[in-house]
């Protein structure tokens, strides 16, 4: 059973209010979660008034504008800014998404930005994903074959078999899905979570892989797999439009029929 309340050191306090200094008429209030490890204080939510006339269309543009023009200490991860790397995954307006492809024009009223849910915060909008990476490693996300590497022939895959990986290989491991899952919040140390299970299915489903049975056996676990109760927050939040819930359902079905 999980703890539904935030621990005392995580209770969010009211932060600073940065008033607009540009006299713009097109303002948006942006509430951002802040936590500075050197301050020794509880996390807080700062409110920034941002001039939207001189701001780009995406949430990441807003964050950059705040960092460049209002508060340079604002910390967040980003890299490609095109929805390919998955670095800027965060909770925007209550749903996990990538800041670089989420349009702020889709959001009415104030904009709320928090780190990915139920993670140890490193600083501001950066959550610690090391548990998820360890779990990812545990499913051995690479081809298992009998080949030694000295064969003269490559491992071939028919077009049809390759198509079976569509909707799964596109995953960028941004962790939007896993950190949206209540089941993962309460059992994140044991339950693998949607992102890792989708990856597990991707390798189980790969026609070139020689370890299908072993992979299935390893994932068939009350806690690792069956903590999925088809809540579908994962599919609802995936910024790439993938369907982790379906992948998990497929693994369950494979186990039930094998």
């Amino acid at each position: 059973m999980g703890q539904f309340n935030l621990p005392p050191n995580s209770k969010i306090e009211v932060g600073k209010y940065y008033k607009d200094e540009t006299n713009s008429k097109n303002l948006k209030k942006v509430n951002v979660y802040r936590w500075d490890p050197s301050s020794g204080q509880n996390p807080r939510v700062d409110t920034f008034e941002v001039d939207m006339d001189t701001c780009g269309p995406k949430v990441l543009d807003i964050l950059f504008k705040i960092k460049n023009e209002i508060d340079p200490s604002l910390t967040f991860r980003r890299s490609c800014a095109h929805g390919v790397c998955g670095s800027c995954a965060m909770n925007i307006d209550g749903v996990n998404s990538l800041a670089c492809i989420k349009s702020h024009t889709d959001i009415n009223g104030d904009l709320n930005v928090y780190p990915l849910p139920h993670l140890k915060v490193v600083k501001d909008l950066i959550g610690d994903l090391s548990t998820l990476y360890k779990q990812y490693e545990s499913i051995k996300p690479w081809l298992q074959t009998e080949q030694t590497g000295k064969e003269k022939e490559e491992l071939r895959q028919s077009q049809k078999d390759r198509e079976k990986l569509d909707g799964y290989y596109e995953c960028i491991l941004c962790a939007c899905c896993s950190t949206s899952c209540p089941s993962y919040w309460w059992n994140g140390d044991k339950y693998l979570g949607p992102a890792v299970l989708l990856q597990a299915y991707r390798w189980i489903n790969d026609s070139r892989d020689g370890d299908k049975k072993e992979r299935l056996k390893k994932v068939a676990d009350e806690l690792k797999l069956y903590r999925c109760h088809t809540i579908m927050n994962c599919t609802n939040s995936c910024p790439k439009g993938l369907n982790p819930a379906k992948a998990i359902g497929s693994i369950k079905k494979m186990l039930a029929t094998s």
Partner: protein
């Protein structure tokens, strides 16, 4: 992360409810209620064996306003649980994971549960 002092990012407090997550938690709560409901129904049946007097006590309870509320409420919890369980069964068969489809089936299950409740109530009243 070695430092234990790092705060936990907010989760339930900030995450927006989706139709799917709302129905999922309702399914759970309703399931627990149904277990208690079965107990009540068992006691009701048992009271038949213990004679008219004990039967009357429970019957009186069901006739009271609160009793009627409980009965109609249970009609709904059973209806909802049955319909939503049908969704779970189709998921187990590998269908209905599509985001749009799951939303539609979810809403249908919710509307259907109210329709069934009214039907149960009318059948109970010998309306047909």
């Amino acid at each position: 992360m070695e430092e234990k002092n790092n705060p936990l990012s907010p989760h339930l407090q900030i995450y927006k409810w989706q139709i799917s997550s709302l129905l999922s938690i309702t399914h759970r709560i309703v399931g627990v209620i149904n277990i208690f409901a079965f107990t009540i129904i068992c006691f009701w049946t048992l009271s038949l064996l213990l004679g008219a007097e004990s039967y009357q006590i429970i019957n009186n309870f069901f006739k009271s306003f609160f009793g009627k509320f409980v009965v109609v409420g249970l009609c709904w919890t059973f209806s909802f649980h049955i319909l939503n369980e049908l969704r779970h069964l189709t998921w187990d068969l590998g269908y209905g994971f599509d985001l749009k489809v799951s939303k539609v089936t979810g809403v249908l299950a919710l509307i259907g549960s109210f329709v069934l409740t009214i039907l149960f109530y009318l059948i109970g009243k010998n309306f047909f």
